[in-house]
Each structure stands twice: as structure tokens, then as C-alpha cells.
């Protein structure tokens, strides 16, 4: 017997999310010059300081007043060094991971938010790697402050930052299986044991059929 939704909804019809979410991919196009605001100036300065610019930068996206440079993984370390030393982006305020399971070959994204106090400007670097080869060079040598942020991104997404001085889990216990922020990792995936009885994980507990 096949079950139909109570109200005849199509799709998962799930408003709780507990029976698994269906996510659509986020597609971002690329932006052509002029980028507007101070972004042209940043791009010019980077091109001048780094002759391999066109080879290293996959695409430039300007969206909602923010500049994102998509950097090739092999060039990331060089670009970061130039941005810090020549363009004076003194701070990398954080590293953030995002998992896009539908983007085959580019499932894992690492996003670096950079801040220049001298220029009073912000830009963002984005690096895309595949699930099968989740290696990105570590930027701890350039900005020491990325240390914990890279550990967090490794912990949550399984992105391996090469040459990191101590890439271990930071939030989850050391022997934890899986990387919780990936989209294929269920919410509340562990059973809770209390006084001998086991309460199923939320992902197993509820179903809206």
C-alpha cells in the first residue's frame, strides 16, 4: 500500500525537516567588470601584485555589495600571501564551510572572510574542492588566527587543510564519526540512552507521512 500525504502535498511536504531535507543547489553566476564600489580597485591591485591573477581566480562574484573571489586551490596560498603582504588585508576574520552535495566535483566550499584595517575594506575568498579529494592548503602560516577556524571547518565538513600545525577536531569529541555540518549528516543522529532504555534519535523518531 502506498502512502499519500495527508493534505496531498507534492515533494517531501515536510515542514519539520526531520524526515530529510530536499535542498536545491545554489548557483552563482560570475560578475564582469566594472564591479562597482572599491572592488575594481582591489582587483586592479591584486592583478598588479600578482601576474598570475587570471589563472588563479576562477571567477569574481559581486552580490549584495560584497566581493567574492573564487580562487583555485593550488594558488590559494600565494593569493593569500599577496593579499596580506601587498594589499594589506591584515586579518582573516574567519573560515566558513558550506556543503553543496549537488555540485558534483565542487561539493565542499571553504570561505575566507578578509578584513583590511588599513583600507577599511572587506573581501571574501572561496575555494571549491570535491568530496573525494577534500584538500586545501592551510593558511595558518599567513594568518595565525585561521588555526581554530580551519580546525572547526575540518571538524564540521571534513575538509583537510594541508600543512596545518595540528588539524584535530575542535568541537566534537576526538573519536566522533562523521562531519556534522554536511548535508548528508542527519540532525540528532545519535540515540539517547537513559536508565537502560534507548530513545531514538529525532531523525528516527518523527515522521510526517
Amino acid at each position: 500500500m502506498s502512502e499519500k500525504g495527508m493534505f496531498g502535498v507534492s515533494g517531501s511536504g515536510d515542514t519539520s525537516g526531520f524526515s530529510g531535507l530536499v535542498n536545491s543547489a545554489v548557483v552563482t553566476g560570475s560578475t564582469q567588470r566594472p564591479f562597482g564600489a572599491y572592488f575594481d580597485q582591489v582587483a586592479d591591485d591584486l592583478e598588479r601584485a600578482y601576474p598570475l591573477f587570471s589563472d588563479a581566480i576562477e571567477k569574481v562574484v559581486v552580490d549584495r555589495g560584497e566581493l567574492t573571489l573564487f580562487v583555485k586551490r593550488d594558488r590559494l596560498f600565494d593569493v593569500a600571501k599577496i593579499l596580506r603582504n601587498e594589499l594589506r588585508f591584515e586579518m582573516c576574520v574567519g573560515v566558513n564551510g558550506v556543503h553543496y552535495p549537488n555540485e558534483s566535483g565542487r561539493e565542499l566550499h571553504a570561505i575566507y572572510s578578509l578584513l583590511s584595517i588599513t583600507r577599511n575594506q572587506r573581501i571574501r575568498l572561496e575555494v571549491c574542492v570535491s568530496d573525494n579529494d577534500p584538500h586545501i592548503p592551510s593558511l595558518v602560516e599567513v594568518w595565525a588566527g585561521t588555526n581554530w577556524h580551519e580546525r572547526e571547518t575540518y571538524d564540521m565538513f571534513g575538509i583537510i587543510f594541508d600543512n596545518h600545525p595540528g588539524l584535530t577536531r575542535i568541537m566534537m569529541p576526538d573519536d566522533w564519526p562523521g562531519h556534522p555540518q554536511r548535508k548528508d549528516y542527519p540532525l540528532g543522529g545519535i540515540e539517547i540512552e537513559y536508565k537502560g532504555a534507548t530513545i531514538p534519535a529525532p531523525s528516527e523518531r518523527r515522521s510526517y507521512r
Binding site: 525537516g17 531535507l21 545554489v26 560584497e66 591584515e90 556543503h99 572587506r122 594568518w143 595565525a144 540532525l187
Partner: protein, 446 residues
């Protein structure tokens, strides 16, 4: 060596060498046992349950006598998976989650998150001025209550009890204002995408004016106790040294950065919520130490009061203006109000949806259960929290739930400087150094 097993100070062999567990009680057997070993190096676990580590922070200290040769932090004991949870809730419900991250500055978490959602929606300029001023006022009150905990517990950890009593007395006054305005004292979920949950109740402004007056008067008590106090100075001056180069490479912001003499405050440098329209100063010191950070926090209290006073003037002029965006497809449908038993739905709204308008009921139901759609994209918004740059990375896939919410919490980042501040110093100074970073573990672990 004795074969007697002390329940408070036992030891066991591990792969890392002999490990001694000390949980209080009689130390004599431990002292004899350690005295028998040749090893000079001692590794001490301070925390995660320790009264002077600001919550469940674990410090792993390697000692030579009283001197620290290596200091490491162990975190994650308060990890609650808030970021993951928000992906399973709609954008408005996210506020209720993020407010619980850094529990000492809930309004900042909410505002940073809402500014991000509004940027994704493209309605940043549609937020009414009254809502923005209310946000600013609540943020500055929150800065005071957060600094009060930082100062009070910081002093307590160094053995000064009275400042804590005074600090928590003032914090209570601020929490009363929070209760009056939002119905809740902590984790208010007061700031919502599109505005704030509800307008000020009757007579709130006069209460706020009185509180500002009281606070300004009472701050002097702590000032008299600590500023220039010779014991306090000996415990804090030259301790926890971190200069500008160290701060920039470690990404340190907030009072720690301003204690190096750099007046970097996002409220001035990259204004949001109309901060460019307020008159206030950025206190700095150039001592790079714990005492400097303490002085900065003390002076920031007065600056926050100045901003609140300007907010009150603005709010008097903006009386009657809505506090939620006009777009009915985004604005929370029910008009909330604070009643005798806390915050709840306004009875007028219930009457309308239950008795008068079917369409209003459908609209309410759709917006509350499913939520509004947010155009696909990615934004980063940053605001100046009491601890430094609080950044929010938001990714939307065009749906009614966030695709990814990531908080760049200042405590998480700033705690990295523990090694730089503590190594080479005395073990008792670790407490002062960590207190000057003012980490809140709810924000660190999220």
C-alpha cells in the same frame, strides 16, 4: 611509595606517563608521590569544571614550577549544534536559536543575524527608523550588562568580591529593562527579521531614563574600588601582553585590540544600524595588558549610556512609528505584546484571525508554519559585540529555511590568544589573562 589509594588524589599509568587525579581533600600523599619522581615538567588540566575559567573552558598548562611553558585550550564542552539546528527551522525561528549562542550578549547575536537576513532579502533600507533605534538602544544596554559580567567575574577570579556584587547589582537593572521591553531577561528573541518583536510598553522611556541616571551614579562604586587600586594594578598591569602585530595576525578584535592603541570599532569604522548618527568616543589604551582592557570596558560603559540617551531622544520623536517592515509577506503577522504573564499574542490580532478574516488566518498560518522565502545568495554581516567582531555568514538556497548559518564568534577567535598571552608567565596570571579576553563558552562552542 605507599600502596594506600587516596580517593581524592589517585594516580594511574597512561601512555603519556603517570597521571595524577586531584579532586581536593588531603594533598599529602600526592606530594610524597610526586616528590619521588624525577620529572620536573608537570602538565595540569585547569577546567573544564573550574570556577575561574568562565564556564567550561579547559586549559592544558605545562608548568616548570610556577612558570607556564605551554598553554593550550580545550574547547567544545558546550557544543550544542545550533548552526545545524537552524537549517531545520525557518528564517524567523533562527533568531530563537542564535540568541542562545553567546548568552551574555543575546541582542547582538539576534541583530547580526537579522541584519544578514535583511541583506539577503534586500530590505535593509526598508527597516523603520524606530525599529533600528530600538535595536541600538537594546544593544547598548546589552553591552553594559555584558561588560558588567566581564568586570565582576574578572575581579572575582582575582579575589576581589565586592566589585562582583556591585556589577551584578547594575546588571540586574539592565535585565529589568530587558524584561520591561521584551518580556524576557535573557535570550529574548526580540530582534526579528524586518524589525523588532514589539514596540515599547507604556511608560518605558521614563523608566529607561531613570535607569540610565541610576547606572551612571552607581558605576562610580566600582570605579572607586578598582581604578588605581594598587593590588588590582599589581595583578593586572603588564599581564596578558599582546601587541598590535599579535592581534592582527590572530584576528583579535574588541577591547583586546583597542588595548593596543588602535581605535578599531565597527560602529565607527563600518557603521550599521545608523551608528554614524550617534555621538560617542572609542576608548583606547596603549598598554596591551589586562589593566588596559579593564579600563576600556569601564569607559565603554559611559559611552553606551551616552548612546542610550540619544536613543531616548530619538524614540520620543518617533513615537507611533511602526517597528516592523511594511511588507506583509515578511513581517511577523501577529502583533505581540507584553502582558502580565510575559510576551504573548495581542488579543486584537487573535480576534481578527479567529473571528473576522479567513484570509488573515491563512496568511498567518502560512507565514508562521512555512515562513517567507529568501532569495538565494550568500552574505557576511559583522557588528561590534562587547567582545569584538561578531560576524554572520548566511547562505540561502531560495527556500524558507537557511542553507547554512555560521557565526564567527569573537570569543572563539580571541581565545586563540591564550597561548600568546600566558606562556612564559606565572600560573596565577592565566586567570587574569583569560578573564581579560572575556570568553563566553556558549559563543565559543555554539
Amino acid at each position: 611509595m605507599t600502596t594506600f589509594i587516596d580517593p581524592y588524589a589517585s594516580s594511574q599509568e597512561t601512555t603519556e606517563g603517570r597521571v595524577y587525579s586531584v579532586t581536593g581533600g588531603d594533598w599529602d600523599s600526592l606530594v610524597t608521590e610526586i616528590g619521588a619522581t624525577k620529572e620536573e615538567r608537570v602538565v595540569v588540566n585547569m577546567g573544564p569544571q573550574h570556577p575561574s575559567t568562565h564556564g567550561v573552558l579547559r586549559l592544558i598548562l605545562e608548568l616548570e614550577g610556577e612558570t607556564i611553558t605551554e598553554a593550550r585550550c580545550g574547547i567544545g564542552y558546550l557544543h550544542t549544534g545550533i548552526e545545524k539546528n537552524t537549517e531545520y527551522r525557518n528564517w524567523t525561528q533562527g533568531v530563537t536559536f542564535v540568541t542562545r549562542m553567546d548568552y551574555l550578549s543575546p541582542i547582538f547575536n539576534e541583530t547580526a543575524y537579522c541584519l544578514g537576513v535583511e541583506k539577503l532579502l534586500g530590505i535593509t533600507n526598508d527597516i523603520t527608523e524606530r525599529a533600528t533605534v530600538l535595536r541600538v538602544m537594546m544593544m547598548e544596554f546589552n553591552r553594559i550588562s555584558s561588560h558588567m559580567v566581564a568586570l565582576g567575574t574578572g575581579a572575582l577570579e582575582l579575589g576581589a568580591l565586592s566589585p562582583m556584587i556591585f556589577a551584578f547589582r547594575e546588571r540586574e537593572k539592565v535585565l529589568d529593562i530587558f524584561e520591561l521591553v521584551s518580556g524576557l531577561r535573557m535570550n529574548m528573541a526580540y530582534v526579528r527579521p524586518g524589525g523588532v518583536a514589539q514596540d515599547l510598553p507604556e511608560g518605558a522611556l521614563s523608566k529607561i531614563k531613570q535607569t540610565v541616571k541610576d547606572l551612571r551614579h552607581n558605576f562610580k562604586d566600582n570605579e572607586k574600588l578598582l581604578v588605581g587600586n594598587s593590588i588590582w594594578i599589581k595583578r593586572t598591569q603588564g599581564i596578558g601582553y599582546l601587541d598590535l602585530a599579535g592581534c592582527t595576525t590572530l584576528g583579535i578584535t574588541g577591547p583586546v585590540l583597542r588595548s593596543t592603541g588602535l581605535a578599531w570599532d565597527l560602529r565607527k569604522a563600518q557603521p550599521y544600524c545608523g551608528y554614524e548618527d550617534y555621538k560617542f568616543d572609542i576608548p583606547t589604551t596603549d598598554t596591551c595588558d589586562v589593566y588596559g582592557r579593564f579600563l576600556i570596558r569601564m569607559q565603554e560603559l559611559e559611552q553606551s549610556l551616552r548612546i542610550i540617551e540619544q536613543c531616548v531622544v530619538k524614540l520620543e520623536k518617533l513615537e507611533g512609528q511602526p517597528v516592523m517592515v511594511a511588507d506583509k509577506k515578511i513581517a511577523w503577522p501577529s502583533q505581540l505584546s507584553v502582558g502580565a504573564d510575559g510576551m504573548g499574542n495581542s488579543l486584537n490580532h487573535i480576534r481578527e484571525i479567529m473571528g473576522e478574516s479567513m484570509e488573515a488566518l491563512i496568511h498567518h498560518f502560512k507565514l508562521v508554519t512555512e515562513g517567507f522565502r529568501v532569495p538565494a545568495g550568500q552574505v557576511y554581516t559583522a557588528i561590534e559585540s562587547p567582545r569584538g567582531e561578531l560576524g554572520v555568514n548566511l547562505v540561502s538556497d531560495g527556500g524558507t529555511r537557511p542553507y547554512r548559518v555560521h557565526f564567527r564568534d569573537p570569543s572563539f577567535n580571541n581565545l586563540q590568544s591564550t597561548s600568546a598571552m600566558c606562556e612564559g608567565g606565572q600560573i596565577s596570571d592565566v586567570v587574569a589573562a583569560v578573564a581579560s579576553i572575556d570568553p563566553v563558552m556558549g559563543g565559543v562552542d555554539r
